[in-house]
Amino acid sequence: MIHYFVKRLLMAIPVMFFVAVFVFLLLRLTPGDPAIIIAGDQATQAQLETIRENLGLDEPLLGQFVTWMGNLMRGDFGVSLISQKPVLTLIGQRIGPTLSLALAAMSLTLFFALPLGVMAAWRHGKLLDRAVMIFSVLGFSVPVFVTGYVLISVFAVNLQLLPVQGYRPLSEGLVPFLQRIFLPALALASIYIALVSRMTRASMLEILQEDYVRTARAKGLNESVVLFRHALRNAAIPILTIVGTGFAMLISGVVVTESVFNIPGLGRLVVDAVLARDYPLIQAIILLTAGIYVLINLLIDLSYALTDPRVRYQ
């Protein structure tokens, strides 16, 4: 298992290298000029040239790439062209809110989606099953910003139970943290609850037809034991896959939720960086996101072995 883990990590190095090259070239070929963002719209050509020269943007592309890769090898991701802050500091400031939001959304997803999926499969064709399916279609069809505005309107503006917007880190206390993360996490989770409950239902329906489930029932086991201990565990592999990739998608795709709820996370950082053509920052974020995808895929593969004893890695 450890050998497999190390081998997969080593395989990630060329993947990351190609991502780095691709991102660097893509950004440099995209029109846009960070010097204008720094100097402002009223800056003259002469002012822009001075700034470009100062930032090294007038150097040949190959020279810029070699400098960037050299620094990257030494663990130096560079400094934001616009704010002049180290990009790792900027990412460090923003990753906390995004991870919190993703974890909270995924927790809500698992809390609601697994029981709903299992119950829907158990009551296949009945009212509960249909209700879950209707919710699932709705959850998947309604855009997250609409869900967000509805939640804000009901719980924050009208009932005044929760704040309209903003984020407080856990270090400032559990209650302020929960107050601000709950609505965005719920808005974001609505899609994933729909997705995971559907996947769970489909997977469970297949498993519930198996002989060993009939045997377990024939032995007189409690239905909840049959469902959650015997059936769900065997239905877990596709669910784990969707949860794992869903988590990676949550981290990289929360920009709308972050905007609607004014959460200063990675999604907004990457949009700002792209609009400002802040090359070092965009490059670092994309490398980081690619790294997260690689790691999560690896963890999903490893989790198969933990949930299914038949799966073993050499």
Partner: protein, 527 residues
């Protein structure tokens, strides 16, 4: 394991009570939502409005412009010699930087040199400066080689780069290199530890700041701070920002789109209005280097085809918040005049007929006009589409290329042919504080120089008049020159003046003392 309905309700009630809202803001904080993210901090090199506003928080200027756009002493008073060649500045008492060191004449001289390196008008002024010398820690002189009556106006101007005073050690940072140490002598101190670029900037009241005795007016007068902290936040979604204002999370929204005014009017706890006394001018820029707009007749035909009211109705929507006027310096500034208004007057149909007539008589051969359209700046999304339709109706062959503002900003600097990344026309807008006289406005630069602002207009007559404006010793003579420049700008169709719109702000009804100014300013304001 079973859960009764009662235990479920109890658990829900417990969670709800735990999450129930306490107050979110400290009474001694002013929470502000600005319309643009603060990313670049160096107000001595950037012309970005948000960076300039940040500059006015942490820095002060030698002179200021009051609400009537008149120059007033701020950090210093000044006297002029009889021959108008020597300006003597005397710093007022009690000026210190945030690090506790006193502001000296040497700091001022170094700051003015840095400012002149980065500001176009400042650079022009330096062409007249023979020397700048400190006669003591509190007094310095600027000696000119020829009279330059604009000197006080330039030192007081709020845009595009104000003449901020900073410590000599920072002012001597090499040209073009960004300053990251925000030590100034302004009424607020920048809290670097809490700065999150694009998200949040925090300012603390500078206890060492000694305000002037006069009441605050424009960017001049006594800058009395009533809040311990001013917190700038950026909310990318305006609906979220309005909800936050309604919920009391924030106190002040810098920018309120006119279409969302009804939302604010529903609330008794929110006031709104125009804070900035001057608006922003929408302009359609022609590329004078490339066909078809290298031909003055074709540019004139385009100017006639376009209509101020149509442009502003689509961009702003509510006539209450825009003004149609010919003045290229802004509708309500001292230099405003009606020169050249014949190019803008008349109904849209009359103007179109005139446009067709001029275009037919010109050498226009159907060369396509590439109109750039930004998709991420609300005010600028519609004008290119409306303009393209009007130009087509007049007989132009127009293509519209949509792109984000960053791409447009880069492309507008290209002097290449359209096929190689060039352009023919785009729309932008300018805070009047940046174009209110012929020296500040980059739009009427007639040098045709590649280093000038996009469009590369060439007119020796305009340049001669700008020189006359600079040399003019009285306001009357300055205005005469400015008026002639305006007429020439229209005659030679430098660009299309799309009229001026005002910006709305919204704030919590318990706030008072907001000081109107050309930039947002947070002194004077109190609960």
């Amino acid at each position: 394991m079973t859960l009764s309905l009662r235990s479920c309700l109890l658990a829900t009630a417990c969670v709800a009570s735990m999450l129930a809202l306490p107050g979110f803001t400290r009474a001694d904080d002013l929470n502000v939502v600005l319309s643009a993210p603060l990313r670049s901090l160096d107000a001595t090199t950037s012309t970005a409005r948000i960076t300039r506003t940040h500059g006015f928080m942490v820095y002060d200027t030698l002179l200021g412009l009051d609400g009537d756009m008149k120059v007033q002493p701020e950090m210093a008073s000044y006297a002029v010699s009889d021959d108008n060649l020597v300006y003597t500045f005397t710093l007022r008492d009690g000026l210190t930087f945030h690090d506790g060191t006193p502001v000296t004449a040497a700091d001022c001289i170094a700051s003015l040199k840095r400012w002149a390196d980065h500001d176009g008008a400042g650079g022009k002024m330096m062409g007249f400066v023979k020397s700048m010398d400190a006669s003591s820690d509190k007094e310095f002189t600027i000696t000119l080689s020829a009279p330059f009556g604009q000197l006080p106006d330039l030192l007081a101007k709020p845009s595009p780069i104000p003449a901020f005073i900073l410590p000599k050690r920072l002012a001597e940072t090499p040209k073009g290199e960004q300053i990251t140490d925000m030590t100034g002598s302004g009424p607020f101190m920048f809290v670097a530890d809490e700065f999150q670029p694009g998200v949040r900037a925090v300012y603390e009241k500078f206890d060492g700041y000694v305000p002037r005795d006069e009441p605050a007016s424009g960017n001049a007068g006594g800058k009395v701070v009533h809040f311990d902290r001013v917190i700038w936040e950026v909310m990318p979604d305006i609906q979220t920002a309005i909800n936050a204002l309604r919920a009391g999370d924030v106190d002040y929204l810098e920018s309120l789109p006119t279409d969302l005014v009804p939302l604010v009017e529903m609330s008794d706890t929110i006031d709104y209005g125009v804070i900035k006394p001057v608006g922003s001018q929408v302009t359609g820029q022609f590329n004078h280097l490339l066909p078809p707009f290298d031909d003055v007749d074709v540019r004139r035909a385009a100017m006639y085809a376009l209509d101020q009211e149509q442009i502003l109705m689509t961009a702003i929507g509510n006539p209450k918040y825009f003004t149609l006027c010919a003045s290229i310096y802004g509708c309500s500034v001292p230099l405003a005049s009606e020169a050249g208004s014949e190019y803008l007057n008349g109904s849209a149909d009359e103007r179109m007929a005139k446009a067709k007539e001029i275009l037919a008589a010109s050498d226009y051969d159907g060369t396509p006009v590439l109109m750039l359209q930004p998709t991420d700046i609300a005010v600028l999304q519609a004008p290119p589409i409306v303009a393209a339709e009007r130009l087509r109706e007049a007989g132009f062959n127009v293509e519209v290329a949509s792109m984000d503002w960053a791409t447009l900003s880069s492309r507008r600097t290209s002097m290449e042919p359209v096929a190689d990344g060039g352009w023919n026309m785009f729309f932008t807008f300018w805070g009047v504080e940046g174009i209110w006289n012929p020296l500040s406005s980059v739009l009427i630069d007639g040098t045709g120089d590649p280093s000038a602002w996009s469009g590369w207009r060439k007119s020796d007559e305009v340049e001669a008049l700008r020189a006359a404006y600079v040399a003019a010793p009285t306001f009357e003579e300055q205005k005469a020159a400015a008026t002639q420049i305006q007429q020439l700008v229209y005659d030679q169709a430098f660009y299309f003046n799309g009229g001026e719109f005002m910006s709305l702000s919204a704030w919590s009804a318990d706030l008072d003392g907001i000081v109107p100014g050309m930039v947002n300013q947070f002194w004077g304001i109190h609960r």
